[in-house]
């Protein structure tokens, strides 16, 4: 059973769960930039929450189903149709062999997930099926999908009884985001003015925005280190302050070490949102001490567990 790519769009990759426990070897997490949307899609087609799905960036994607398949769309807001018939997101959908699915430009948010019953079948490399483009690892031949690619689909293990994500479990996708964040290792190197403004600025996501990270524009900061610092570990959600004073938020493909001061760290509970930020979006950082951030993470897990029992593997 396969699915064929008709139009690959800007950057469509196979993404599943992250690579864990290999950052000391230089191996980044990768995986779905918005893992919550990946999980919601997989939930609707009866897959493991982190089963491999398609992640389409900004410009959408067109594919043809080569056999009868159940699928679901989640993530960014975009128009979508099957052979010209409009489709709803967050719903279990049925495709017949030969049907063509078109996902259009994302109106808000950056990434749409297409989950199919059985999941996409690609080789697992270093513990995950996720594509890591910079090193051509994982996914479909380590690269973004191209026209004509045929991707194998696995055996469905049985469909769920509910076929729609309840309204209270559809994450809002917006042009304005609030990300809870904690102070990080080099926060103390900011000058007093910078310490005040870090959590009190309306940032805009810059043009450079990809799976590795995003520029935060709208304020410039001074750190009192002499130029660059010795390379130190960084993680998805780390907010760096390079020499030019413009903050950079690292995302799913964050490299494992970096040479810039780390001034803040997006709280674990909100890291999945990084995958939906796009150039021009407005962002505020909400300061949390680590204990409140942990309490809020656990409250979020408690809320989501009703629909996604394995939420702690996802967020």
């Amino acid at each position: 059973m396969t699915l064929t790519v008709i139009k690959p769009g800007l950057q469509t990759t196979i993404q599943a769960g992250p690579r864990v426990g290999m950052r000391h070897l230089g191996v980044p997490a990768s995986g779905a930039a918005d893992a919550l949307s990946l999980a919601l899609g997989n939930r609707l087609v009866g897959n493991n929450l982190l089963a491999p799905a398609m992640e389409a960036t900004m410009a959408g994607v067109s594919v043809r189903f080569d056999s009868d398949t159940s699928f679901a769309l989640t993530g960014a807001q975009a128009s979508a149709d099957l052979n010209g018939r409009e489709l709803a997101f967050h719903t279990t959908l049925a495709a017949r062999a030969g049907d063509e699915l078109h996902v259009g430009l994302a109106r808000t948010g950056a990434r749409v997930y297409i989950a199919v019953a059985g999941g996409f079948v690609v080789d697992e490399i270093l513990g995950s099926a996720s594509t890591y483009l910079p090193a051509a690892l994982g996914g479909h031949e380590g690269r973004a999908l191209r026209e004509g690619d045929r991707i194998a689909v696995g055996q469905s293990s049985g469909m769920p009884t509910e076929h729609e994500t309840p309204a209270e479990f559809r994450p809002p996708v917006s042009r304005t985001w609030a990300l809870r964040a904690c102070r990080a290792s080099e926060f103390a190197l900011l000058d007093d003015n910078g310490k005040d403004r870090l959590f009190d600025t309306n940032y805009t996501i810059g043009q450079r925005a990809d799976r590795m990270g995003m520029q935060l524009e709208g304020a410039s900061f001074n750190v009192s280190s002499q130029g660059r610092m010795a390379s130190a570990p960084v993680f998805p959600g780390t907010i760096q302050c390079p020499e030019d004073g413009r903050l950079f938020i690292l995302s799913a493909d964050a490299q494992t070490t970096g040479g810039y001061p780390r001034v803040a760290q997006v709280a674990r509970a909100d890291r999945h949102m990084l995958g939906q930020l796009r150039p021009g979006d407005h962002v505020r950082l909400l300061w949390r001490d680590t204990r409140s951030a942990t309490d809020e993470l656990r409250a979020k897990h408690d809320y989501w567990r009703e629909w996604l029992p394995d939420i702690a593997q996802v967020v």
């Binding site: 864990v20 426990g21 290999m22 950052r23 000391h24 070897l25 230089g26 191996v27 980044p28 490399i125 270093l126 890591y132 910079p134 090193a135 051509a136 690892l137 904690c182 102070r183 990080a184 290792s185 010795a230 390379s231 130190a232 570990p233 993680f235 959600g237 780390t238 490299q255 494992t256 070490t257 780390r262 760290q265 997006v266 709280a267 674990r268 509970a269 949390r288 680590t290 204990r291 951030a293 942990t294 993470l297 656990r298 897990h301 702690a312």
Partner: protein, 231 residues
Amino acid sequence: MRSRSSRETLDTRILVCGDDLLSVSLDDIRACQELADRLRDSGDWLESVAGIDSVMVQFDSATIDIDLATKRLDEELRQAPDAPDTEPELAEVPICYGGEFGPDLGDICEQLDLTRDEFVALHVGREYRVDMLGFTPGFAYVGGLDDALNVPRRKQPRVRVEAGSVGIADGRSGIYALAGPGGWPLIGRTPLKLFDASEADPFRLHAGMRIRFQPVDRDEFDTIVETIAQS
């Protein structure tokens, strides 16, 4: 009365870096590697990564409170470092210098006012250590370069650098385990296979390992590549 609150007795080198991240500042890269390895082996942490002068660990904040994580880290930090029972493994890394494998070698020699042979003699003339893996999967930062070989990174990174490429920059050699983009000026390439996804331990080089470079010519390079392909 002396206060016994845990806060005051915790090691001051521990820094909270997020709701699931803790960092330890150390002054020595070997101490960083030893601690990072020890923490990873303890099984208490999701990730344990050494930098040049710090170690960062990630824990599962859904089930472990930050106070407990900090206390564990503090205890593990207080334990005496593992005495190295053996010298770290020595990896012999053959390099075919210059030509298509080392397109920047000519420029570097000109910059440093060295002949090609002088450059190679200086580069193979000592034992090195892998300071860390990072930047891209398996990329080895190899420390200990002769001061006479200090050059900056390229202003324009290359879109593609082949696997096995060896560069130098900012006092280190860098070895690319995988093909990908890269900004290090390239001096040559090793025929060794540095990444093999089918192995349980897919990377040939690791932090802390000792390294010796050996110059090989193009024929020897090809022979080694063939031998590896057949085995």
